[in-house]
């Protein structure tokens, strides 16, 4: 019962800004972002790593914010949907999502955009099956996924066209 009271100092770079906070050691990264930094674009859907709504990037790799303690991100570079929106890194994906209506309630969307950007970095021209497979860790309850696959496929195609 003493564990919750134990605090740790965490210093990291979030969306390009250095931040320092003292938080209970048990604080997970998703709660840290939401409660300490008020970056509420990262959502919490299941709190045990299944739904993908809390997906963020730590040192360039996507992780489940609910499965990682904030203290584990000490010294790391963390990117959230707010950061990638402001830097316009995922603007093309966001526009495609709006165009194909690949989001309805929008709760899963930040996590799915994070995942999509990671997929396209590693697999520039994925098949629809590859997109669906990669998104298996991101639940969406509104769209039925087809429009999401359409949006990601459209961005992949557009990027491939430019690369040629």
């Amino acid at each position: 019962m003493n564990a919750p009271a134990e605090t740790v100092e965490v210093e990291l770079t979030v969306n390009g800004e250095r931040v320092k906070r003292t938080v209970p050691a048990r604080t997970n990264l998703a709660d840290f972002l939401r409660l300490e930094l008020e970056l509420t674009g990262t959502h919490v859907g299941c709190e045990h790593g299944v739904c993908g709504a809390c997906t963020v990037r730590v040192d360039g790799e996507i992780v489940r914010g609910c499965l990682m303690f904030a203290v584990q991100a000490d010294g790391c570079r963390v990117d959230t949907v707010e950061g990638l929106s402001d830097s316009r890194e995922i603007e093309e994906l966001q526009s495609a999502f709006v165009l194909t209506n690949a989001l309805q309630c929008g709760f899963c969307t930040p996590g799915i955009l994070m995942a999509a950007q990671a997929l396209l970095r590693d697999v520039p021209n994925p098949s629809r099956e590859q997109i669906r497979e990669f998104l298996s860790g991101n639940y969406c309850r509104c769209t039925g996924y087809q429009a999401i696959v359409d949006a990601i496929a459209a961005v992949a195609k557009a990027r491939a066209g430019r690369a040629r």
Partner: protein, 796 residues
């Protein structure tokens, strides 16, 4: 431009610059895609505290004592409140509708008092400075329970030997109803063939990505209560919070900003939410309750737990003569307030066999109490069951007679020219298009080719199935749905629309947005009716202080009812604007129109912009005649008057493959043709269909709330409860037939639930189509691999 014809009451929606019928994108989607949505749990208020609940670990237990002392001393704890203490602040509620005759349910309190009646029922509220501290302290609250025998199985709920859940009732019966045209027995007796089956539908739940959340902010200084609520029906909640907490209704404000999925889950009275409001009142400070996923599974309403016995009589040619069903459902220990838990059963009685022209029908529905989480209305209420039952029976009869399922439907669907039509259950259909939809569906599917491919693959040992379903959907409900039964749930909706001082249009509507695109289609309608660019229309929703009194978004009513109110308000505002224009331009209003945001003399481009007209009205009234007062704010309301419901209809098709070794069902493709009347935004309608179908797929193949024999929910996590994931879902082809309803000028019927309603029937038929040559049949959902293997006799 909008050519509204006063005499025919019609509007030319096909005009070149009409937004109605165009797949415009959703302006508010941009904000959500950037993570700039504002869901309830994102809102932080000064002095806000958090509540966590101690929930009953037992399905049925007497609460012998509550010892909060140790918990109260823990860090951050503000207050610990028992069910009995909450009951002193909150008036109990009773979830019955008087038009469901004989329905009963006892008074319910937000938290259990004396006896807990389902695993997960809240028992004690723990308020602390953070949610984490509240959860820590909740674990330290000691509650002594005496576990009581639980009534769990609906089949046994009425046995005298079963434990009675409520001492004030002689049995666990909640509601029963029969429908009978009188000639079923004679028709069955004289029929060429009678097919019979019992079909089971598993309990499942909505799993909104955003769990339920509420932030209540009571201010004693002005006796006001503001509730940030993640829900679908702000005015309904306003009335409930006010009446249960004895507050003045006009001092209660409900704000529903972004909602992370709802699907009917977030439209009911949850004890934990009402208790959070009561705690804010008691503490005179903001109290937030945000359910975690475990709490969602234990306390969000469940749905669909039905057992239906069905009999269908047909003649030698396959003409349907009579249908009989007996539906049994267990709905938990209480009927949910205020919509009641009798509606799903009632809908099944009303809707089963609704697309078909048989004359004789008998239906019995029995709703019983049990010690499981409560069931209530979830997306497509009753439809997935009613449709799957009828479609299954139609296919069974067709197979026995050697008739192709498509031919069987063509033979029996109500002809497209037979409307208006009254079904044997008493439903009145204004105008439906079953045959047009089925024709279009079969063409889209390339049905004959699909059948040939199936036969070829069968020779190679590949077991594919094709399934069809025809369906009707209750949309645009009139007051006959809830209001008639005494529930304070508005069937009418309103729109207040204004021309602002800068020439922009602001429309406030009582219907709400949960991502369907409500605000977008309202802007499309307003822009079209007024003759302005959509970008200069702003739509307000989800705030009882700002929008006209309305019902919100449920039963596929937003487009059809809310949309008509927006249309009528827009037309009235246009009339007022043209009167102003006539005064300024010194002509008559009938000579004027609004084109591209400009009041012009018809057929010319001469005139003045709305911005200029507004500037004169708001700032330079001195330029107007002294006896003329512009009115640039108007409100109009709309309710459905001519019919109890405006039915939509459609057809779905499914192609799948069954692995007879593993029992896995792989969906290959789904098709949907929906007739929701006038389509305002084809893309958004398609996406409602697709999302709806995938929820239907969930119920048909994966989703199941599994209880053990002590009433413990075994799979209350997202890892254990399966929802459809991207990799398993097929692409879904959508198309439309449009039969606009004449009950409104807009002509729109609802589109939100048809996908969910029609899919399970098509899928079960496809599975059985695949299994039929193997002599196997499934009659239960979800159709898990185990169910398939059992049907094949491969496991016992």
């Amino acid at each position: 431009m909008s050519d509204f014809d006063e005499t025919t009451k019609t509007l030319n929606f096909d005009a070149p610059n009409s937004y109605v019928g165009r797949s415009v994108t959703r302006p508010n989607a941009r904000r959500l895609a950037q993570g700039r949505g504002q869901y309830v749990d994102d809102i932080v208020l000064p002095r806000m505290v958090h509540v966590a609940y101690v929930r009953s670990p037992h399905a049925h237990a007497r609460i012998l004592g509550i010892k909060p002392k140790k918990a109260a001393a823990m860090p951050g704890v503000v207050r610990i409140v028992t069910g009995a203490e909450i009951a002193m602040v909150v008036k109990p509620y009773v979830g019955v509708l008087t038009h469901l005759a004989g329905m009963r349910s006892p008074p319910q309190y937000p938290l259990a008092v004396d006896v807990a009646r389902w695993q997960g029922e809240p028992v004690v509220a723990v308020v602390a400075e953070s949610r984490a501290q509240a959860e820590d302290a909740a674990e330290a609250v000691e509650v002594d329970y005496e576990e009581l025998p639980a009534a769990l199985d609906a089949e046994r709920a009425l046995d005298p030997s079963e434990p009675k859940i409520h001492k004030e009732f002689d049995s666990n019966l909640c509601f029963t109803r029969t429908v009978d045209t009188g000639g079923v027995d004679a028709a069955m007796k004289s029929a060429h063939l009678v097919v019979e089956d019992t079909i089971h539908f598993g309990r499942h739940t909505g799993v909104t990505m955003e769990p339920r959340a509420v932030l209540a902010d009571y201010n004693r200084a002005d006796e006001s209560m503001t509730v940030y609520h993640c829900g679908q029906s702000p005015h309904m909640v306003q009335g409930i919070v006010a009446s249960r907490l004895s507050l003045d209704e006009h001092r209660v404000r409900i704000v529903a900003r972004d909602v992370g999925g709802s699907f009917g889950i977030k439209i009911h009275t949850y004890g934990d939410e009402i208790a959070a409001c009561a705690l804010s009142l008691m503490l005179n400070r903001p109290v937030k309750f945000a359910a975690d996923r475990y709490e969602s599974f234990l306390s969000d309403i469940h749905a669909r737990d039905h057992r239906v016995k069905a009999k269908l009589a047909v003649d030698r040619e396959g003409n349907m003569l009579a249908l009989e069903i007996d539906d049994l459902t267990g709905v938990g220990p209480y009927s949910m307030f205020p919509r009641s838990s009798g509606v799903e059963c009632n809908q099944i009685l009303n809707l089963t066999g609704g697309p078909y022209k048989h004359k004789e029908y008998r239906a019995k529905g029995t709703v019983v109490f049990q010690n499981k989480n409560m069931m209530c209305q979830y997306r497509a209420v009753g439809h997935p069951i009613a449709i799957a039952v009828a479609e299954h029976m139609v296919d069974q009869a067709a197979a026995k007679l050697g008739i192709d399922p498509a031919e069987m439907r063509r033979k029996n669907l109500i002809p497209d020219d037979a409307y208006p039509y009254k079904s044997p259950s008493g439903m009145r259909f204004e105008a439906l298009s079953h045959h047009a939809c089925m024709d279009k569906l079969l063409e889209l599917m390339d049905y004959d080719q699909l059948r040939r491919g199936q036969a070829d693959l069968r020779k190679k040992g590949v077991c594919r199935g094709i399934g069809l379903s025809s369906f009707i959907e209750v949309t645009n409900p009139s007051p006959m749905f809830y209001g008639v039964g005494g529930a304070r749930i508005a069937a009418q909706d309103g729109c207040t629309i204004k021309l602002d001082a800068n020439g922009s249009i602001i429309a406030a509507t009582g219907v709400t947005e949960q991502g369907q695109g409500t605000e977008t289609i309202m802007a499309q309608i307003a822009a079209t009716a007024l003759g302005v660019e959509m970008s200069c229309v702003k739509v307000l929703t989800g705030d009882t202080d700002k929008v006209p009194y309305g019902g919100g978004t449920w039963a596929s009513r937003a487009a059809g009812i809310g949309g008509e109110a927006v249309l009528q308000a827009s037309l009235a505002l246009k009339k007022n604007i043209l009167e102003v224009g006539a005064v300024i331009l010194k002509t008559s209003a009938s000579e004027l129109d609004i084109v591209d945001g400009k009041v012009v003399k018809k057929g010319t481009e001469q005139g003045l912009t709305l911005a200029e007209l507004a500037r004169i009205c708001y700032y330079r009234g001195n330029e107007l005649p002294v006896d003329f007062q512009p009115e640039l704010v108007v409100t109009r309301h709309y309710r459905v008057k001519d019919y109890a419901f405006v039915f939509s209809n459609g057809a779905q098709g499914c192609s799948l493959e069954v692995d007879t070794e593993t029992g896995f069902v792989k969906l290959l493709k789904m098709w949907c043709v929906d007739d929701c009347g006038r389509v305002i935004n084809p893309k958004l309608v398609d996406e409602q269909a697709r999302g709806g179908i995938v929820q239907g797929i969930g119920g048909a193949l994966y989703e199941h709330c599994l209880y053990d024999d002590r009433g413990q929910l075994l799979n209350a996590t997202m890892a254990d409860y399966l929802v459809p994931m991207a990799a398993e879902m097929p692409d879904i082809v959508c198309a439309h037939v449009q039969t606009p309803t004449k009950t409104s000028v807009l002509g729109a019927k609802g589109a939100g639930e048809a996908g969910t309603g029609g899919a399970p029937g098509a899928i079960m038929n496809a599975v059985n189509d695949a299994l039929r040559p193997l002599g196997a049949k499934v009659t239960q959902q979800p159709i898990t691999p185990e169910v398939v293997l059992r049907a094949l006799g491969k496991v016992r």
